[in-house]
Symmetry: C2
């Protein structure tokens, strides 16, 4: 997905996190455009709270999206799978991945930020 | 922290994740050596289950460490804070960060991996 920085905008816990750790295959294969569209689509979803995403030079990436509740994740999953299936599919873009759904219980930020 | 790839070695949920999203300050300031030592120290801790870490070219990084239970996280936090305080402190290394503790409830991997 496209770069997205530290997200201080999430509400007080509890809320949910989808942690997606993935290794990109070489070449674009339509990935760049699709990833941008997926992030834009996520931002319009009910219950979407935020997104943080980093990819290293070796193609390894971690994207964490934040959601109000399990229902929001389920709705997003159905939409995202449909879009991805219409395109190339996860297997064209990622040689390996692990996806975890977690309930955020506590959060701390650097205290002197403005 | 030093690079660490997709971790398929975590057990069946539930377990815990510490999601640390942070922006590095410019320059090393002892960070590289300390980060390596911290990862090595984490790996020896009771209840440590795994680690995934990515840093982008702009210095934004996401590190997710996985732990058996809250007690393991609390023990690790006390040790890590002590070590970091003895060195330069988080404020020397990170201009901004957010840390979240979450309970992993479900996990999925790419199914055709060996």
């Amino acid at each position: 997905m496209s770069a997205a920085g530290i997200d201080h905008g999430t509400p007080e816990p509890p809320y949910y996190a989808v942690i997606f750790t993935a290794q990109r295959t070489p070449g674009d294969e339509g990935y760049g455009a699709m990833a941008e569209r997926m992030v834009e689509l996520a931002r319009t979803q009910p219950g979407f709270l935020g997104l943080e995403s980093v990819r290293g030079a070796d193609g390894l990436g971690i994207t964490v999206s934040y959601w109000r509740d399990e229902q929001s994740i389920a709705r997003w999953k159905a939409q995202a799978e449909h879009r991805v299936a219409q395109a190339r599919g996860l297997r064209a873009w990622y040689s390996d991945y692990e996806l975890r759904v977690a309930r955020v219980e506590r959060a701390y930020a650097r205290r002197d930020r403005s």
